[in-house]
């Protein structure tokens, strides 16, 4: 589903990513771990098509992400670290945004899908629909952001630090939600995080990034047994 080949990214003469090769099988969740600033979020931006790679390419279902049509692009959803809800739009309008871009949906269908999406992320309350993002807690924002991504019925969901800044209980709620979406809807997920608890709960396969390179891949236990000194240090501190 997601194939990354020899991916490299430079900015202002500085190499951010180097020679990343990765395969994420359909319906599975790959977790990329690593310390802050190692290039995890940049990797997601390249997979999502928000930035152009300097070298290599990213294929989604066999198609280069840079050449996808807008309709094909909607099959890739991204949940941002900051949730990135549109400040000027209500919760309803945020979740409906992507659906309104797709002209095939009628208003009544959009309303049904918005309600379904919010119910799926555990936010079925009627009075929530007209609230503005500023009125929501961090955990609610994150769940609305996931509902917005889900509404477009994506085949691939990318999560950038999905539990960052949340309390442990809310973080676990989000972890379970990510897991249930993969199990129930069969979406392919790529999660980047530096939180080992999140990684362990949501992932099927794991990768470790250091200084822009993917230095280790395998199961969670294989990562834990890595002999790489920096990985050992990261795991011990985490």
């Amino acid at each position: 589903m997601i194939s990354i080949h020899e991916l490299g990214f430079d900015i202002d003469g500085k190499t951010i990513l180097r020679d990343i090769n990765l395969e994420v099988a359909p319906g599975t969740t790959m977790v990329i771990m690593g310390p802050s600033g190692c290039g995890k979020s940049t990797l997601l931006r390249l997979v999502c098509g928000l930035a152009k790679p300097t070298r290599g390419r990213v294929l989604i279902s066999g198609k280069d992400v840079q050449s996808l049509t807008p309709a094909e692009h909607r099959s890739i959803g991204m949940v941002f670290q900051s949730s990135a809800l549109f400040d000027s739009l209500s919760v309803y309008e945020n979740v409906a945004f992507g659906l309104r871009r797709d002209k095939t949906y009628r208003p009544a269908e959009i309303e049904v899908r918005v309600r379904e999406g919010l119910a799926r992320v555990g936010l079925p309350e009627e009075d929530l629909l007209q609230k503005m993002p500023a009125d929501l807690s961090g955990g609610m924002k994150k769940r609305v952001a996931i509902a917005r991504t889900l509404a477009a019925n994506p085949q691939v969901i990318l999560y950038d630090e999905p539990t960052n800044g949340l309390d442990p209980i809310m973080a676990m709620t989000i972890n379970k939600l990510i897991r249930s979406l993969q199990r129930d809807l069969g979406v392919t997920s790529l999660v980047v995080t530096h939180d080992l608890t999140t990684a362990r709960h949501v992932g099927d396969h794991f990768g470790m990034m250091l200084d822009g390179a993917l230095v280790e891949t395998g199961t969670f236990d294989q990562i834990l047994k890595s002999k790489h000194p920096v990985i050992r240090q990261f795991l011990n501190v985490s």
């Binding site: 692009h73 992507g98 797709d102």
Partner: protein, 263 residues
Amino acid sequence: MKSSPGYFYNTVGNLGRFVLTFFNACKEMCYLYTRSLWSVLRSTIFWHNTINEMNFIGVNSVPLVAIISTFTGMVISLQVGQIFADFGVSSQLGNVLAVAFGRELAPVLTGVVVAGRVGSSIAAEIGSMKVTEQIDALKTLSADPIDYLVAPKLLAAFLMMPLLTIVSNILGMAGGFMVAVHQKAVTAVAFFESIASYITPWNFIGGLIKAFFFGLVVAGVGAYKGLHTENGAVGVGTATTQSVVTGTIYIFILNYFLTIILY
């Protein structure tokens, strides 16, 4: 060591960097304008946002433009009225006010007001959306930020600035008229006759043409600064300040060249 070769090379290097940055900014602003025009022509622009922006840029700016224009008209009438009275040509006050407002004051004052109120708001809104990843979120939902954010603001500013300039013309003249009649003993008939005798419609049309350009400059600079915001809240503050300063400077420079061309 100001005379050392190092200082010379540094100065030349900084000048070169400034010129490159300036031309790069010009290139990117040209892209924003052409891409926004394309957005309007293809109707991919978000029309609902455009209506909202017209309300924000146009309707909500009326009180500020009204107050500034009225009092500016009153002050000019006071100052010029005194000099004209000394020379015995008080009856020409209407003529001078009409030229001043129609050609220069109405478009420039409105441009500066809009640069302060709207340009800063555009930069702050787009800048905060940039640093909180909302612009990226738009892209992932197949919405082009130009169609959604930039083109509606540019089109709204382009359309509303001339209307605000008309308001400024009317209220500036009204303010000047009140002072001329009540404080400078100019009769209403003399005031309007002096306007009718010397003023041609082009005095006002030229001012409106300037206003179209000023609207594009203010919204374009705000959008450009917003889209290039970095470094979180500090960056948003910097972009906001820069949009007001740059927008105002561009208005005054552009005004000079438009005046040469139009009059």
